[in-house]
C-alpha cells in the first residue's frame, strides 16, 4: 500500500474537514471529535453534494445540500437513504495524516 502525505492533523478542524485535490477529483478528509481521520470521495451519492462542507458528528457527516447522512467508515448513506461513496484508507503518524489513494 502506498501512502500519500495529506498534511498535519492540526490543519484539519476538529469535527470538520479539508479537501485534498487529486487528479481523479476532490477527496474530503475528515477529523472526528475523537481525532480519528476518515477520507471520502467528495461527492454525495445523492446529487453529488460536497460532503467536505457538511456537519460532522460521531463518525458521520450530513451532506450540505439535502441532509443525507453518510457513515464515514463505510461510505454508506445511513437510515432510510440508500447509496454509497468511495472511501480511502488513512493513518496518522507523528501528527501527520496520510492517505492511500
Amino acid at each position: 500500500m502506498s501512502w500519500t502525505e495529506v498534511g498535519p492533523l492540526a490543519d484539519i478542524p476538529n469535527k470538520g474537514s479539508r479537501v485534498l485535490v487529486t487528479k481523479d477529483g476532490d477527496v474530503a478528509v475528515f477529523r472526528t471529535a475523537g481525532d480519528e481521520v476518515f477520507a471520502l470521495y467528495d461527492q454525495c451519492p445523492h446529487k453529488a453534494g460536497p460532503l467536505s462542507q457538511g456537519i460532522v458528528y460521531d463518525k458521520r457527516v450530513a451532506c450540505p445540500l439535502h441532509n443525507w447522512v453518510i457513515d464515514m467508515e463505510s461510505g454508506e448513506a445511513t437510515g432510510p437513504d440508500e447509496g454509497c461513496t468511495r472511501t480511502f484508507e488513512t493513518k496518522i503518524e507523528n501528527g501527520v495524516v496520510y492517505i492511500s489513494l
Binding site: 470538520g16 487528479k23 472526528t32 460536497p50 457538511g54 456537519i55 450530513a62 445540500l65
Partner: protein
Amino acid sequence: MKEKLVLIGNGMAGMRTLEELLKLAPEKYDITVFGEEPYGNYNRIMLSPVLAGEKTINEIMINDLQWYEDNNVTLHSGKKVTRIDRVKRQVMADDGTVEPYDRLLLATGSRPFMLPVPGADLPGVISFRDIKDVDTMLETSKTHKKAVVIGGGLLGLEAANGLMLQGMDVTVVHISETLMNQQLDSAASDLMLEELKGKGLNFLMSHATESISGDNRVEKVHFKDGSEIDADLVVMAVGIRPNIELAQSAGIHCERGIVVDDTMQTFDPTIYAVGECVQHRSQTFGLVAPLFEQAKVCANHLAQMGIARYISTVTSTKLKVTGIDLFSAGDFNGDEDTEDLVFKDAARHVYKKLVIRDDRLIGVVLYGDTVDGTWYFQLMKDGTDVSDIRENMLFGQHHIGDSGHGAANSTDNLPDDAEICGCNGVCKGDITKAISQHNLYTLDEVKAHTKASASCGSCAGLVEQILASTLGSDFNDTPSKKAMCGCTDMSHDEVKTAIKEQELKNIPQLIEALEWKNPDGCHSCRPALNYYMLSSWPKEYADDPQSRFINERVHANIQKDGTYSVVPRIWGGVTNPRELRAIADISEKYKVPTVKITGGQRIDLLGVKKDDLPKMWADLSDAGFVSGHAYGKSLRTVKTCVGSEWCRFGTQDSTGLGIKVEKMTWGSWTPHKFKIAVSGCPRNCAEATIKDIGVVCVDSGYELHVGGNGGIKVRATDFLCKVATEEEAMEYIAAYMQLYREEGHYLERTAPWIERVGLKHVQALVVEDETNRKRLAQRFYESQENAQTDPWAEHAAKHKENYIPIKQVS
C-alpha cells in the same frame, strides 16, 4: 449477572415500553415476556381495517417472532400468567412455567365489558378486542347474514362498518340518542347517523338490550320496550374495564385500575404498570397516545435514568371508517362558563364546534372537514390565547391573516400518485406504504423514512393528515412537548431553561449534563444549541463554526454545484454609481457567471468558487461593503420604498428610517431569518405587512406590524401598535427582536412563534410594559456590540485556510 425483567402482557403498551427501554439501555436486563395471545405483538388498532378487508393480519404485526429473537427477548406466547408471588419474586403461568423477576412490568390491557343479560354466554355472542374476535367475525360473515352490534361508540361503529363490508346485514343498537356520545355532540352525531345510514347500516337508537336468546347459538336480541330483532352474530362493544384480576390477586393496590404514580410505579416498588390496565391520578385510558407516553416514562425509570414524569394530556379521537371524517378532542360539550363557536353546513355534511373558556380553546368537534384538527389540537395543548383569532378561527388556520393559503384539501380524497412533498417528490402512496410497512407513528419517523416534509416542511400538515387517516388516533400528532431531535427527549423550551438554570456555557458541557444520547449531537441539534448558547451568553460564548450549517460557516450560500453566492449588504436597498462600479469590477475580476437583483433589493453574485471567496470579500471590503448575511439565521434585509424624499404620497422618510434600522440590526443572530421593511405610506410598496416586522409610515407616525411571512406559507402581519417618532420605532423594533431571540425556537420564524405565544403576550411585554421594553432593547444593543463585526473582512484576513484545499496532489 443481569437483572431479570418480566413483562406480563404482550400488547401495545408493554411492548412499546420494551422498545423504548432497549433504546436506552439495551444490555441492562434479561427480558422475558408472557402473552396470553399466541402471537408476537400486533397493532390492535388496525383490527378495524383488517375486519374491513383493507389490511391483513401480517400487515399489522409490529414485532414478529424474529424480533424477539434478534433482541434476545424470551417470549412465552399463548401462556397466561395466573399468579404473582411477590415474596419469592416470581410469576407462574397456566402451563406451569415459572419465571423469577427482579422487576416486573404489568401491561395486561383491558377486557371488553359484556352486558350481564341472559344469553350473553351463547355461542355467536362476542366482543371486539383481539385477532380471535376478528377471525370469528370473518368466519361468521361467510355463512351467516344478520349481525347486531350493541354499542354505537367508536369500536361498535368500526365493527359494524367492517361486518357490513364483509357482506352482512348489520344493525347497530345504541342506548342513547347520540352516537359516540363520548366524543360527539348531538349535532355531529345526527350528521354522522345520516351518512352511515346512507352507507347501508341500520340503527336502533335509544334501545336498551334486555336479553339474548337462541337454542344452540344466538338467534334473537330482545329489548326493554318489548321489541326484538333476528341475529346470527352479536358483537358487544359497550366499553372496556381495566384488566386487574391478576394484580388484585397478588395484593397490588388497585381501584378501577392498577394504581400507579407519575413514574408508572405501583405500590410495590419492584412492580411497574403501563397501558389500559392502569389508573393514574384517578384516570383510566382507552387510546394509545397516552399509553405511548407512559411507555417512555416507564422505560426511563426501568433504565434507572429516573428523570421522566408522566403527565396526562388531552387526547383526540378519529373514527377509522373510510369516508367518514371526524375529529374530536377535549371538553366538547362545555358548560355555563364556556362559549361555543359553531359552523354547520348540512348540505355539505360539515359541522364544526369549538368550545372556548377564558380565551382558551378547550374542546373541538369536527365533522366532514377535519383538515384543521391538528391545528386546533395544538392550540388546545399549548393553551394559546385565541382572542385575536377567534373571529376567523372557525374557518381554519388558512383564514388567519387575510392573504394566507396553507395546506389545502383533505388528503383522503387524493389519489396515491398525488405529490405531497414537492421538494423531495414524495407521493401520497409512498407515505402510506412507509407508514404501514415500517409501523411509523410520528411525523419525524415519516420524515426519516420518506423524506416527505424533511426539506421546506410546508407539507408537514398534509403528512400529519395522512398519518392520522392511516393510523386513526394511534397517532402522536405534533406532541406539544416535542423532542428537539433524536439525541434527547427534551423539548426546545426545556433545553433553553436548562441552559440558563444549570449555567451550561458550551455544547460539550450541555451534552454531558443533559445526557444526550449521541456524544457529538447531530446535524439537527448542534446548530440549534449553538444558537441557544449565543443568545443566552452573548458576551462569553465562543461561536462554534463546526456546529453551523455550511452557509453560516463560510458566510456564503452553497449552490447546487458546490459553488457559492455572494450578496453584499446594500443598506435599505439604496446604492450609487460608485458601489455599482465596484460590484461590476469585482464580478468581472472573479468571472462571476450570474449577477442577479434579488427579491430583497440587493445584488446576488452567483457561482463563485470557494477559494475565491476570501479574495473577493477583501476586494468588497476595500470598496466599503459588508456581508449581507443572505446565508444566515440572522437579519437579512430591510426593504424600503422611496418615501417622502421623492414620492408624492410619502408621509415620512421611509428610506432613511430603513437604513437606520438596518444599521442597528445587521449582524444579529436570530432563531430563523429575520426580515424587515419600511413603507412610506399605506400603499405599502415595501411589502411591510409580510415581514417579521414591518413599519408603515402614516402622517401621524409609524405603524408597527409583526409576525408576517412571505415564503412557504404567507401570513399577513398583526398590528402591534403605533408610535410617534423614529426613535420609538427603533426601540420597539429592538425590543421585539430581542423578545423573539429569547423565546423563539431555533428554526421557528416570527409567524409561527406569534401563533404559538399569542399577539397579546408580545404586546404585553413590548408595548404595555415600558420598563420591560427598555430592558429588552438594552439587551439587544448589548449583544449587538459583539455582533457587528463584518465576518467577511474577518475571514478574508484571518481564516483563509478554511476556504482552500489542504493540499493538491498530482
